[in-house]
Symmetry: C2
Subunit: 366 residues, 2 copies
């Protein structure tokens, strides 16, 4: 799909999950780099501690506290959220282990688990996320200890697990001695509603929390932030020495300046305003254009919305026709769900002025 | 050792292998970051291709050509030299595989091989590097296909494999269908003598070449450059998607600007002049101060020199006394050699004015 898109710049793409390039803060990053050099000197260009750059670890602790996580002794800086996931897989998984995932789920994570030899098993989920009873049964049946979840502004559906469900899932984890890997990289992109504490905050001893600055500062910084039980962190850090020794001190120092600055709050506010307006435009366009029988999620934030078609609709079958007509999406089937009637629409990276046209083309192709 | 050093800033440390912080080009990096943003726009902050940022791949190809390696279809950008080594280990090694290494060798690489379940076997070496006949025998005896070598300005000894030896080693590799992982991160730090083509240039189909910009630009950029057979690269790139998705587009763009600029040549010349002068000072101080019976290598570049003591000298036993007296080194025993009579002196990061004093303290402690 992405190779095809590269050759068709005219296509309105709801497929790509990347941030809006127009919102990436080029001048801000350059000026933060200068600030970091002025404040910390050449140490920002030198080798640093595997665990992370001290000032960024302090900022990370503050950020985690705002999400309900108090783990200064369990935090480290990884090379992006994907680097964090790789590190933890190396530390946790043996070939043949089972990793449980909600359905649908973020497909690249499944590839990562499988590349570590794990067997991935989907667990039934509803609009509020994974079903606690199904999780409980699956943990026992598969002798599993690891479950991967994306509780907030879920990729691909945009759904968010409510507080009550978080508490129920945390209870199951604690009862079974299992560990959740909580992938929480969209949580600052909230357009309405009240913030929800991280799932990990309800199960501090049964969780690995992963977030990143890729969606709020820039993907190219490759800054992941994690929190986990300290004894697990110790194993991860030994492994990280051999994985990439350390994450760039330079981009870590820029990230520390970013999180400490008023400019970061202003930049985040601009991003939230822009993406929120796009989501509103997308929902209004779907309401006015889509044929009857189609429904969609109502995300309070993030980058994704999930459209489900009427009985008999096949999102895979329509893909080529939609693409030829000038609009792209990702069919739900790639996200490890049995449903072939769904599709993911990613709105954050689409120029605001293209959204209505894209939805019209989509509606015509359906 | 490094934890002890952190508490004793007065100690002259020949132990640390990091670049001289005074030479790290802070202002240059900031200005290159601005240049990169001006030239490529916000794409330098966005997600990019797993293989690497196009303009840096082009510069990397030029750099590799200067070292005798013509592999544009086998090049990728890794997250530092250590990231490159991790990627290739994931692609090449199964638990129980044997990795051959010269002796002494770079100890952290051995830790990496072992973390991938490999058994590491040392092969006899002399002042010119690994012995071709011993390599040949070891490849057959251990049913091994991978050998890890540091042919130029070797860490820890500073020795360089001459051209004739490179050709002999390449012949063995080709005959046995084995693969060398060539770790070549010091090669631009040449203070005298003529450049030698990379070992990989003599065995293009039997080599994985790894270099980085950590010693010439800055460690914090985390830029590794590799060349390998294209079919192996394809496997590495699939794995890298799950390891860290991609190396920072931002530091890659800075690196591309650096390699394309006259400023990089000026900066490298300054670095070479400074480190070369330190090596001269170190050798002169050793000649005037060390007790008889001590000998040392005569490196033409790099960051390390290897001192061997007289019969009965025990570098491990003297370490504490030297440290208390105010000078630190790394004992040879940690570099996977039977010899307990040797020590590694790292000179690049030591302030020029401390070298003579450090050697005097060292000589007194011996």
């Amino acid at each position: 799909m992405f190779a095809r898109l590269a050759n068709r710049p005219d296509v309105v793409s709801f497929a790509t999950g990347a941030p809006d390039p127009a919102l990436l803060p080029g001048e801000l990053v350059t000026s933060l780099a200068g600030d970091a050099l002025a404040r910390y000197g050449n140490s920002v260009l030198q080798y640093g501690m595997t665990r992370g750059f001290g000032p960024l670890l302090e900022q990370a602790h503050e950020l985690l506290l705002r999400r309900g996580i108090d783990r200064p002794d369990g935090t480290h800086i990884a090379t992006g959220g994907s680097g964090a996931l790789h590190n933890i897989c190396l530390a946790l998984l043996e070939p043949g282990d089972v990793v449980l995932v909600e359905t649908p789920t973020f497909a690249p994570a499944v590839k990562v688990f499988r590349s570590h030899g794990a067997r991935v098993v989907t667990v039934a989920s509803d609009d509020h996320g994974i079903l606690p009873e199904s999780l409980d049964i699956a943990l026992v049946r598969h002798d599993a200890t690891v479950v991967y979840l994306l509780p907030t502004f879920h990729n691909p559906t945009g759904r968010t697990m409510p507080v009550a469900r978080r508490q129920q899932v945390a209870d199951v984890l604690a009862r079974r001695g299992a560990l959740v890997v909580e992938d929480d990289v969209y949580t600052d992109l909230r357009y309405r509603g009240e913030p929800v504490p991280a799932l990990s905050s309800y199960a501090p001893d049964n969780s690995v929390y992963i977030t990143s600055l890729s969606k709020t500062l820039a993907p190219a910084m490759r800054i992941g932030i994690t929190a986990m039980p300290p004894e697990l962190l110790a194993r991860v850090l030994v492994l990280k020495q051999g994985i990439d020794m350390q994450t760039s001190t330079f981009t870590q120092a820029i990230a520390a300046e970013f999180l400490a600055s008023a400019a970061s709050r202003a930049h985040l506010a601009r991003t939230v305003a822009s993406y929120g307006a796009k989501l509103d435009t997308l929902v209004a366009a779907l309401e006015s254009a889509m044929p009857s029988g189609f429904t969609w999620t109502k995300p309070e934030g993030g980058m994704f919305l999930w459209v489900t078609g009427p009985p008999g609709f096949d999102a895979d079958a329509v893909l080529d026709r939609a693409f030829d007509a000038g609009v792209a999406y990702l069919p739900g089937s790639i996200f490890h769900t049995d449903a072939s009637d769904a599709m993911r629409l990613s709105f954050a990276g689409v120029p605001q002025e293209n959204i209505e046209r894209g939805v019209k083309l989509l509606a015509e192709a359906m």
